[in-house]
Symmetry: C2
Subunit: 471 residues, 2 copies
């Protein structure tokens, strides 16, 4: 493809994206294709002759679009919202066009320095003290893995330069609530702690970590000769957006020398609202925290914001220094390859930059407040409607509910609510996520798509009630 074909196809694709976004509401939210249906439309072998870019882009409408579940649809209420604003798309396009690779400062100084600028903006936006330094990771899963690796090395006095975890006499232990995200388990297992050394603590009625149980578990492990190493606290759990008591957990972590990692993947964005910051009071006591601007905030995936109090510790654990990566500026600059797992790094700051400049703090705050209000409205409907039950507080934008029918036991209630979810999702009119909360089948309605208006929340509520009657 030459530059003129790129211009022509690029303009067409920009127009296609704009038209796609404009008609998004008319498309089924969850893809309705069957397994194998999309793959069967493509040849099994790569083409010998080139020149097919225009045809490849034509496949977007013909072969791919019905296989897309539309995460930016106004009736996307599943998982957590994952917006990708127009500004973010443009920033990401600039990133792709430049093709810069910011593994070291020298390999594109602007990539490192704009990332530092944007992470500074995000830090202020969510009210974090300037004792924290930020870096972009791809996901909260990777961020939490990085945190538990850093914790492991701090607690073991850098065992990695000796025998690793294999040379340690007393096992290191990790603590989290039974509502912590699956990525905490994954990170603990990948980091080598072992499932036997990961404690899932029971939660209170609001599904938050109980500090008394944390204290007790630490004491028990200590008494058994194990070494308490890290605690992961969550602000906004995946199941219900429950909020662990950060200040109290931080105090325990400090007293026992534990690494405190805070997973605020969804709810970190809410901290752009001063009225929400009560939910992470004490956050200054964290050693690391992650939140995902690629969720509710509107920067396109992948852009996870990882903040640490001691970036030099990150470098000690993750850094390498082979001769072919040395540059004249080492020592004066941050080489962000040493701040995470991958060596190569996209210029992801660009999409964050364009998004934030386009939306502005005031615009973001207004949108977030609208979404909180959507959730409060829905919660009030649930509370006021016989046969419906709300299963958790609503501190943010997610409402956890279920339909109850007299005479059904838990198993039958679970089947009934799964049928409701299947009916709503299968209709293509809205998409939500069923989940299990302490043995009870729930339906999660998570507001926050940038295009969601009150009428969409009203529509999903109406769809739920219709499905409950039919099921």
């Amino acid at each position: 493809m030459d530059a003129s074909e790129f211009r022509r196809l690029g303009h067409e694709l920009i127009d296609w994206i704009a038209a796609y976004r404009e008609r998004l509401e008319t498309l089924p939210v969850m893809s309705q294709v069957k397994p194998g249906e999309v793959a069967a439309r493509f040849p099994a072998a790569p083409p010998q002759a080139g020149g097919g870019a225009a045809a490849a882009l034509a496949a977007l409408d013909r072969d791919l679009l019905d296989g897309i579940t539309h995460w930016t649809h106004p009736s996307f209420f599943a998982y957590f919202p994952s917006n990708a604003s127009y500004g973010s798309i443009l920033g990401d396009l600039a990133c792709a066009g430049l093709g810069a690779q910011g593994m070291s400062w020298q390999t594109s100084p602007a990539a490192t320095e704009l990332e530092q600028v944007v992470m500074g903006w995000l830090r202020q936006l969510v009210g974090l003290p300037d004792a924290f330094t930020g870096v972009v990771q791809d996901s909260a899963s990777s961020s939490t893995l990085v945190a538990l690796l850093c914790a492991r090395e701090r607690a073991s006095g850098f065992a990695q330069v000796r025998g690793g975890l294999q040379g340690e006499a007393a096992p290191l232990t990790v603590y989290a609530s039974d509502q912590a995200h699956s990525s905490v388990d994954k990170a603990a297992l990948l980091a080598g702690y072992g499932k036997a050394n990961l404690r899932h603590l029971a939660t209170d009625d609001a599904h938050a970590l109980r500090v008394d149980l944390l204290e007790a578990a630490i004491a028990e492990d200590r008494a058994a000769g194990r070494r308490p190493c890290a605690v992961v606290a969550t602000v906004g759990t995946t199941g219900t957006t429950a909020v662990d008591p950060i200040a109290a957990v931080a105090e325990v972590a400090r007293r026992h020398g534990l690494w405190l990692h805070v997973d605020a993947a969804l709810a970190g964005t809410a901290m752009a609202l001063p009225e929400c910051r009560v939910h992470w009071a004490g956050i200054e006591g964290a050693d690391s925290l992650v939140f995902n601007p690629h969720k509710w905030m509107g920067i396109g995936f992948d852009f996870s914001a990882y903040f640490v109090r001691d970036p030099q510790h990150l470098v000690r654990v993750m850094g390498t220094d082979p001769s072919y990566l040395r540059t004249a500026q080492d020592g004066q600059v941050a080489n962000l390859r040493d701040w995470g797992i991958p060596l190569g790094r996209r210029f992801r700051a660009l999409k964050g930059y364009v998004h934030l400049v386009d939306e502005g703090v005031a615009g973001l705050q207004a949108r977030l407040r609208r979404d909180l209000e959507h959730a409060r409205w829905l919660a009030a409907q649930v509370d006021a409607t016989p046969g419906w039950e709300r299963l958790a507080p609503v501190p943010f934008q997610t409402v956890v509910l279920r339909h109850v029918k007299e005479g059904l036991d838990e198993a039958a209630l679970a089947a009934h609510n799964l049928a409701i979810a299947a009916a709503v999702n299968g209709s293509g009119k809205a998409y939500l996520t069923p989940s299990v909360l302490k043995g009870r089948q729930t339906l999660r309605v998570s507001c926050g798509s940038a295009t969601t208006e009150r009428r969409h929340v009203e529509a999903v509520w109406a769809a739920l009630r219709r499905a409950a009657t039919a099921a």
Copy 2:
């Protein structure tokens, strides 16, 4: 930003990218800015009011471009090439515009299925048997970490569901040559093996792994009660593109029950040429291998191709199954979140798809052969020119050389060659990477930017000679 502003700014940005690519040759390859210079151009706090997208994009020229090191420049000879074709840019733009997140099949079936199609294409393109299944990872570093985690769990009988590495009596050991990439060390350390259990084996005169030393190291570890677990072999090392003897290493790995991971990050792309496949004869014996289509092949960063013989093992090690991630299609489909570390997944297959359809197998092969010829030409010049020394064979597109001056010891020669590199890179006319090979300072000239013509190779060679005279 509304759709009409997106169309307007999007068209402008497409044109900007095309114009950038057209004038790339006139820009200094390596950015010449000083540390802090770019960051100082941006406000320290995020803007309160929005609407600044047009101004943000204007910053590309005004505030960012001189801070970019241009990886797609025709005179980029540093590291390994990292192309990002026009086709790839368009595919990536479609990915950003759709904003789909393919963590599970259901969350965008097309993302999973096109990835399977494209990985099947890549498998055939590089001549791998159909016993391998592919998945996209972000980088070779992450792929190698995934490989060493899978190796750890196979060798330990899934210690992660017990006490992890902390519960193991006899340490697991890992083997690689002294030319293996720093990401192998990083992966071994992060996976918890510990530096004391990582063996760097001396290499032969061609800088390839010596199988006799591998055998001896395994025997020594066995005798000492340790458990040999994994060997990482490299096809195309970073220092010199040396090729470890895969068939022989595979035979040793098979006999001793070791996991064989092959790092072909750069050179995997060369296997699109049948005449290059001799360099990984025996590859069918690997348990896993990685190559980076985001390097020489031309798919924009990040797109690392990870192939495994047993994807179910990957799922056993990396998979999680919380209730909120269960879908109706589980068991019938691949949920690619379980094939790597991050949960969320971009629709990266799109950029691979558009790139491959646009370039075609024949087009790619012609370009790769041109680049191999560039390297052979440069190697011949070095060999024929007094005062210059070539330090390694040239199986692919990288030439490793240095200038020698009579009477200089190794330290003085190192300083002399570093001065040559600094002069060339500081001129902005070309960009190459100094590296150290077994105590000798080298200069790596790595061909393979898609826009590099013979005249650019001639120019960097002339620049090197001029710098050597002046230094």
